[in-house]
């Protein structure tokens, strides 16, 4: 007797969100990237449509990072203090489809870069590469409220993905995205309720749901990955079961989390039994990312080009449909 797979029928699908805008669409990007749209759990092609593959985005900073592991130096050491060159390298050499520009320099405790400085960095990167951009603030609400609206205004029409709005601080960023036609990252602290509440708050400001990507926060392998995983999974199942306020594509700040972990960073000399550091860190980042892909992550923000390559390969393999009928 022929095998017939049990299929779950879902009521809803994940929203699609477009990153970037081409010239015809009011921007300057060479191409756009669409995420989301799936009507089944991750990679279960036989159950529903998975029209868009998960996207790997490489992260660059506006200033030279001081706390990145030495194993990045062979890749980025020559471009760390030049965001445009760094961006070009990510796209041209490491095949990034999307870039994340983290405006770490704006942090008052680091370089306290002015909104104008930040705008210039973003504009320069836009000019240097054709790919869609994700722009993240420094993470300090008060400063981000000055910087991100300025960036949004100066790049109106580019349809950047700007982040992050949080429950305690969402209004000015959401308003800026709405007015200047960008998309928004809604970040919640590993809490499915706050994740949903923030989406309600933002959509009630009339930012349309297809301009929101959620970052439910995750953790690196060994640091609570399973919590991040289960929240992501709940959001995804919620979306498929019809919850419109959980139907946004999911972004995961993987690189940021992994490269804070001791296991990714500690040198081979200090911990010889753990194996060689560069590979260990790369595998730590790739493992965290591939685990979260299974929970439903749509945009993976990564740091190490080798880890990113491994994840892209994993995605390519998983995007080959399984056909039980054959």
């Amino acid at each position: 007797m022929a095998f017939s797979a049990m299929k779950e029928k879902y009521r809803n699908k994940v929203n699609t969100v477009v990153l970037g805008a081409t010239q015809e669409e009011g921007g300057t990007r060479g191409y756009t990237v669409t995420v989301g749209g799936e009507s089944a759990l991750p990679f279960l092609h036989f159950e529903g449509e998975i029209p868009n593959r998960p996207v790997v985005a490489l992260e660059i900073w506006d200033i030279a990072p001081t706390d990145w592991n030495e194993s990045f130096t062979p890749y980025y050491g020559d471009v760390f203090d030049n965001p445009t060159q760094w961006a070009k390298k990510c796209v041209e050499e490491y095949g990034a489809d999307v870039l994340v520009v983290r405006l770490k320099g704006a942090d008052p405790d680091i370089a306290d870069a002015s909104p104008e400085d930040c705008v210039k960095v973003v504009q320069d990167v836009l000019a240097a590469v054709p790919c869609p951009l994700i722009v993240l603030g420094c993470g300090k609400a008060e400063k981000d409220n000055q910087v991100l609206p300025a960036v949004a205004e100066a790049t109106a029409g580019e349809n950047l993905l700007i982040g992050s709005a949080e429950q305690e601080n969402y209004k000015s960023i959401a308003a800026a995205c709405m007015v200047h036609k960008h998309s928004l990252i809604a970040n919640s602290p590993i809490d499915i309720n706050i994740c949903k509440q923030l989406n309600i708050l933002i959509t009630e400001m009339n930012l349309s749901a297809d301009r929101i990507v959620i970052d439910p926060t995750t953790a690196a392998l060994g640091y609570g990955l399973e919590y991040g995983y289960s929240i992501m999974e709940r959001a995804r199942v919620g979306a498929l079961q019809g919850d419109k306020m959980l139907s946004m594509p999911i972004l995961g700040n993987v690189g940021h989390e992994v490269w804070r972990a001791k296991e990714a960073n500690i040198s081979t000399e200090d911990m010889p039994v753990w194996g060689e550091q560069p590979n260990r860190g790369i595998i730590w980042e790739a493992t965290t990312a591939t685990a979260l892909l299974q929970a439903g992550m749509n945009i993976v923000v990564m740091r190490h080009p080798k880890a990113a390559a491994l994840v892209k390969q994993n995605i390519a393999e998983l995007m080959v449909p399984t056909n039980f009928e054959a």
Binding site: Q167, N193, K196, Q197, I200
Partner: protein, 635 residues
């Protein structure tokens, strides 16, 4: 022309008036103030009363609603007594809500809602006048057995007892009245006991009972004439145990960890009640000896402390009380200053946190006799709730914290004079209008004021759905203080203390948690029995706080389920009403005993469901907006 008598119920106050006097005037003479906005012109339609008996002349009906007319209500100012009449005054016709004055000029608010109907007057203690056949040499049955025979002819009970001390009074009492005797008989749970004997057929013989509601914070009591069933007087006061802590947990700790703690708490509540008893008896100069029955409805901890039994294990997992149903005791055993032989009975509890007060409320609201699915909820420091109908009943308790009673809120206070109970804010300029209980200068906000405030803040956009203050709105009332953002409701020049009355962002968060706990309790209970909110056919709200609560506001903030307003009903202090009902109806008392066994208790702290529900309820109105369609669509 002879004067006529007008008797006002439920006060049981009678006045002599000339025939043709308006009922409004008669009520004033009796010291009862009715709402009469138009001053007796028959136009405002608010002085509604019901003529129960007697001849009256109705001059006009003004603009009373057809529903009121159907219910037999008339305007007191337009209705004139022509003969002796008996008039019933509904609570809403009284000037101010019916308020029991408490110590320190504070108010315990209570509205009269009729007790369950359909119980016949058959008090737990009654007086019997008996004429015994005198003994002879041939018919030489002993005094007590002779009395027993006579009692058996009057009441349907074979198990008739007497205490030693009453027995000692018997021989002289029988003979002094020439074998005519008046006795007090208590009938509880199928047993009868002769607890008082008096020689002769005393016409003036009085018989009273007292119904007591012991709350953690307040104690309220009714003195009831057990012959007529009418309430003679009502009093309320603060539970003097408050000095050992505000909540049941701190009382339990005091009782368990201090050597004299339990005795202290026991004596304190007995003192509190003895003070109330004295006040109850004082107006008519009534004798404490004539009080022969007491019913007590209280939460489980208060019942334990009242009886002086250790409550220690209520607080410790798995949260077990010493007894759910407690034995009937004599007044002298607990130290109440009434007839020492009088019986005192406490309503049975369901569980450690669903007590006799809830059983009493369930009794008086007839939840267990109605086919409609009813949610009965008592909102206080603990939210206690009962859900079900004639076929099944479940109960649960959740800890809401003291916010609705004013605790943990910067300007929170109990519902007493000076408490803001209503807040209106102009959405254009954020100007505020408040009203206070007693129409005096504002001192703070009571629970209903806080709920109203939260709903209004949300409606005009001062806070977002997560309870965060929207600092971009233009008004000097919203300002940053040391502790964070705050909104000024009443400026110092208009407040009682001269200080600005504010609501802080932290207050909003505390309220959010309190309302989330109550809603999560309701929802978890519904989940446990797999019912949707829409299946609830009526919601009864008890507690002093319930009377002022604006249902629309409570739904707007997601405290109560989104059901049509007509499904909601306030029932005031249902615990006290149930105690009063049981006092005058053996059948009701019997039912209360059964209810204690019948109600299934759901422990919300077992499992994760409550916590998940709580987290999703921390939003205005709720993270799952589809649960509140009327709030979402109104926007």
């Amino acid at each position: 022309m002879d004067k006529i008598t007008v008797l006002f119920n439920p006060d049981n106050l009678a006045v002599q008036v000339e025939p043709g006097t308006s009922l409004l005037h008669a009520a004033n003479l009796a010291g009862i103030e009715l709402v009469s906005s138009c001053g007796g012109d028959g136009t405002c339609g608010r002085c509604l009363v019901k003529v129960q008996d007697g001849h009256v002349r109705v001059k006009g009906t003004g603009n009373i609603s057809s529903r009121a007319k159907q219910a037999g209500l008339v305007l007191a100012c337009q209705t004139f007594a022509e003969g002796n009449v008996v008039v019933d005054i509904p609570g809403r016709s009284r000037l101010e809500e019916h308020q029991v004055l408490l110590d320190e000029q504070q108010l315990l608010v209570e509205k009269d809602v009729e007790g369950a109907e359909g119980f016949k007057l058959q008090p737990l203690c009654s007086k019997l006048t008996l004429t015994l056949t005198p003994p002879t040499l041939d018919e030489n049955v002993a005094d007590w057995e002779r009395l027993q025979t006579a009692v058996r002819n009057e009441i349907c009970c074979s198990d008739i007892r007497i205490s030693l001390s009453v027995l000692k009074q018997l021989p002289e009492a029988l003979r002094a009245g020439d074998w005519q005797v008046t006795i007090g008989v208590t009938q509880i749970n199928g047993c009868a006991e002769v607890i008082a004997v008096e020689s002769g057929h005393a016409k003036t013989s009085k018989l009273y009972g007292v119904a007591i509601d012991i709350g953690t914070t307040t104690v309220a009591a009714h003195l009831v004439d057990l012959v007529s069933g009418f309430t003679v007087s009502k009093k309320g006061t603060y539970n003097k145990q408050a000095r050992f802590g505000d909540d049941v947990i701190s009382r339990i700790i005091h009782a368990s960890e201090r050597p004299e703690g339990l005795a202290e708490l026991h004596h304190t509540i007995i003192n509190t009640i003895n003070g109330l008893l004295a006040e109850l008896l004082q107006p008519g100069n009534l004798a404490a000896q004539d009080v022969l029955m007491v019913t007590v409805a209280a939460n489980t901890t208060m019942t334990h402390l009242f009886l002086g039994i250790p409550p220690k294990y209520i607080r410790l997992e798995p949260y077990i009380p010493l007894a759910a149903a407690t034995p009937a005791v004599k007044a002298q055993e607990v130290g109440l200053n009434i007839n020492p032989e009088a019986y005192v009975v406490c309503f049975p509890s369901v569980a450690s946190y669903v007590g006799g007060d809830i059983v009493s409320g369930t009794l008086v609201t007839n939840v267990a006799k109605d086919e409609r699915i009813t949610l009965f909820i008592d909102i206080g420091t603990n939210g206690e709730m009962v859900l079900g109908n004639q076929d099944w009943l479940v109960s649960a308790a959740c800890s809401a914290g003291p916010a609705f009673e004013g605790g943990g809120i910067t300007y929170g206070m109990r519902a007493m004079k000076g408490a803001i109970d209503n807040v209106e804010i102009n959405p254009d300029n954020f100007e505020v209008e408040v009203s206070t209980i007693g129409r005096c200068r504002a001192k703070g906000l009571c629970g209903s004021g806080l709920i109203d405030c939260l709903a209004t803040f949300r409606n005009v956009g001062i806070i977002d759905r997560a309870g965060k203050m929207q600092t971009d709105i233009q008004t000097p009332r919203l300002r940053q203080a040391e502790e964070g953002w705050e909104f000024v409701l009443v400026y110092g020049e208009d407040s009682d203390s001269g200080k600005d009355i504010v609501i802080t962002e932290n207050d909003v968060k505390n309220l959010l948690r309190a309302k989330a706990a109550v809603y999560a309790g309701i929802h978890s209970m519904l989940n446990a029995v797999e019912l949707d909110i829409g299946m609830i056919e009526r919601v009864l709200i008890a507690g002093g706080f319930g009377n002022y609560l604006n249902i629309r506001d409570a739904i707007t903030i997601g405290l109560l389920p989104d059901l049509p307003a007509e499904k909601y009903m306030f029932i005031g202090n249902s615990s006290l009403k149930g105690a009063r009902l049981a006092l005058i109806s053996q059948e009701a008392w019997h039912e209360a005993q059964e209810l204690g066994d019948k109600i299934t208790y759901l422990e919300l702290s077992a499992g994760n469901d409550f916590m998940e529900e709580f987290m999703s309820a921390l939003f205005l109105p709720h993270t799952d907006m589809s649960l509140f369609p009327s709030v979402t669509n109104a926007k």
